[in-house]
Symmetry: C2
Subunit: 450 residues, 2 copies
């Protein structure tokens, strides 16, 4: 692998240039911003390293699909996405989210960590391998969707319509990061998600707030309704919400208890005095990895500018994100929520299901896990940590577990990557190491397949 | 008065032009927008009809003060304001709030109703009177402040420092309107106000919402805190909140019960199926006129754009407007609110007092009331309705009742003026009639003083 690694080190500037070009192309699915040009740019990047590609349409944004033949029957799939989170609030960025800037060895831009950095690193790894070692030892497939950040609403359609393309022996999932102590973190599963928007309505337009005496206030209705969803003890109060929660197995629990979760370090990073419910130790981990959530991601109504404005709002809205664990299903949670609000007297509040994905986990003893883990140990020089699941979500179930494909997630982020937040960034050294890690995984899989 | 009225009719276009010029000048105290140019423009308008003026400084925006000598010792004061409400949300305006437009006999612009229309009408009335009848029969004083829409934080200072200027026998307050049946409404009092902003904080910056498992969410904290302020029965739950509420007298109650409050018409205007608590009749009026409120004027946190964004917010804020009735005091309500939140376990939520004014009422049998009422009857051709108080607020107590000056409020708005809301407007006919009404009041006061 020495030759491959040398090639990577020598092409460091070229690889960064490639990543910057991709980051300069906005691609916010939620805002329908720059999606087509970005898909085409990604398609070209695949072609440039030898892939046969197709832009496969869905009822939403297309999937960039690519195949590259190797020397064996074994096939490794990569799952990535070319869409990114909206960059707002813009005023909190230190530099333009679409103008990649390097400061202190870090590359700042929306998507640098999630997921354009990983996508680029993987392609660079395949180029370095081919340029130095010749034909790849395994077949490679790329599935790069454009709707991950809005909950992959058409990935199921894609899988249904292109089932024949999707046979693979394993899948490297889109993300991974080093923790506060620079230990690489590998993930074997993802939580599901049920994302909704609640809308309460009052008068037809904003009114003078002196009418607050007798005219219904949708902000109050929304607040009273939200208050029935979760109490200060963090228990979710929707009837039946926990019914399908499968408790974690003893081995999953142990894996999580053994994680070196740096409670103090993360607390410091978040700038908080204590965790929710003042939790720590095993209870804290168990809650983070294995419990579902009900999180207000946004709420707004009425006047939100500076100074006092005496207005009675006409409308109030909230965005809520339920993270789900096996075997909860997003459609069922949405139905339970609607029933709950009706029962509590808030049938007037509209519930809009914005997206849903199932939770997913890959067994800890799958052979792919060992390959990713041992190559990480080699490249990073430390023992990586394997998580039975992440607390985050993604469509892993749809593309992998449902088709019998084991999936392992690894990537180039770090603890301060500010994923989904202003000033998203990666460390350039992590990007280079990540390229080497992917090249090693490909090599190792080829060797194993013998 | 015929000559005066003819002059008014003949100068209709000129008077409208004057109003439009004033409306074109933005003047949002809450956003420090255009305040100085507006004060100077208003000062010039006073000079143009013969006033000796002064721009009297305060620690906030200055007061435009003017005096015009009449033929008697009697003095009538006018209270107006040159600041207006913020125009947001801009996207709901059918034409630019700072570009007055006439459509269907209505003049649309921010401030057209509140309060630049009235201010202009009063000056036009004084011009018409002088041009046709000569010297005014009474002395006139104008107090035009620049901070009414942000709660008049420096009017008390102004009154303290210019006590000697403020002797008067009566005051015409800034507002009034026709109801849905075109009956002019006259007001003898105002509610007080205590306007606060609540701020809850979580992590130092927005986080990926998968951290909702263990990182405190300020949106949830704010919602739980708000929920402790008022229940679905509309009772305000702050301990001691109602302690100083003086029940309305029998005669005040009767005046309100006898009002021709068009319940169905207003419901239709608001576009609501029922009033709060399904109230109607006497209970509805009693609540609207004599009960204090706790109204959410604005609330916001996290992501409020389109589509789903999975973010754990770093901050959540709410703006709340308590309308007060005699003898509640804003400082005491603010203190009670802070104590309440602490007691309920929300001491982490910051409470910022944004402004406060005392409630005020003028006795129903004051002679000024009869003058305003009888002249309205004459000009409008219908019996006006006298309200012992408005449900709205203003610094009447500070400028009038506290100095022993009776105050009556009358003006040119109508039921669809959209005060404090998008598409604020007046009907041009109401503007012309309002000019005539003010001229008649001045004439009548002169006659009475003999």
């Amino acid at each position: 692998m020495e030759r491959v690694f040398r090639y990577i080190d020598e092409h460091r500037e070229e690889f960064l240039k490639r990543l910057k070009a991709l980051l300069r192309q906005p691609s916010v699915a939620a805002q329908n911003l720059g999606m087509e040009p970005c898909a085409k740019l990604v398609q070209q990047m695949l072609e440039d390293v030898g892939f046969k590609t197709q832009l496969l349409p869905t009822d939403g944004f297309p999937v960039v699909y690519g195949e590259l033949e190797g020397q064996s029957d074994k096939t490794l799939m990569f799952y990535d996405h070319y869409d990114v989170q909206p960059p707002e609030p813009l005023e909190l960025w230190e530099s333009d989210p679409w103008d990649p800037q390097i400061r202190d060895g870090k590359l700042y831009a929306r998507g640098s960590s999630d997921n354009k950095g990983d996508l680029t690193a993987r392609l660079c790894a395949l180029e370095a391998y081919q340029k130095t070692m010749g034909k790849l030892p395994v077949n490679i497939k790329f599935v790069i969707e454009g709707e991950e950040e809005i909950g992959s609403p058409h990935l199921e359609q894609f899988v249904r319509e292109h089932n024949n393309l999707l046979k693979a022996d394993g899948c490297i999932w889109e993300f991974g990061h080093k923790d506060l102590k620079d230990i690489p973190q590998i993930y074997l599963g993802l939580k599901g998600i049920c994302y909704v928007e609640l809308r309460a309505r009052g008068a037809v337009s904003d009114q003078h707030s002196s009418w607050g005496t007798i005219v219904p206030n949708p902000a109050w209705r929304l607040i009273w309704a939200l208050n029935t969803l979760k109490g200060e003890d963090e228990k979710i109060l929707i009837k039946g919400f926990y019914d399908d929660v499968r408790p974690p197995s003893r081995s999953e629990l142990n894996a999580v208890y053994e994680l070196d979760f740096d409670e103090r370090g993360w607390r410091k990073k978040f700038g908080i005095k204590r965790y929710l419910l003042n939790l720590s130790g095993k209870k804290l981990r168990k809650k983070h990895y294995f419990e579902p959530t009900c999180t207000i991601c946004g709420v707004w109504s009425g006047y939100t500018g500076s100074g006092p404005k005496t207005v009675l709002p006409a409308e109030a809205r909230a965005k809520i994100d339920f993270r789900l664990v096996p075997d909860q299903k997003p459609e069922k949670i949405l139905a339970l929520l609607k029933k709950h609000l009706k029962r509590e007297g808030f049938g007037d509040i509209e519930v809009i299901g914005m997206h849903g994905v199932n939770p997913a986990r890959t067994p800890m003893d799958d052979p792919l896990v060992e390959v990713v883990q041992s190559t990480a140990r080699e490249v990073y020089g430390v023992e990586p940590v394997v998580h039975p699941t992440s607390a985050a979500s993604g469509p892993m179930y749809t593309l992998c577990q449902k088709l019998g494909i084991p999936a392992v997630s690894t990537g180039i982020g770090y603890a301060h990557s500010n994923t989904h937040a202003p000033n998203e960034n990666i460390r350039i050294e992590d990007f280079i190491q990540g390229i080497k890690h992917i090249a090693s995984i490909v090599y190792e899989l080829g060797n194993k397949s013998g």
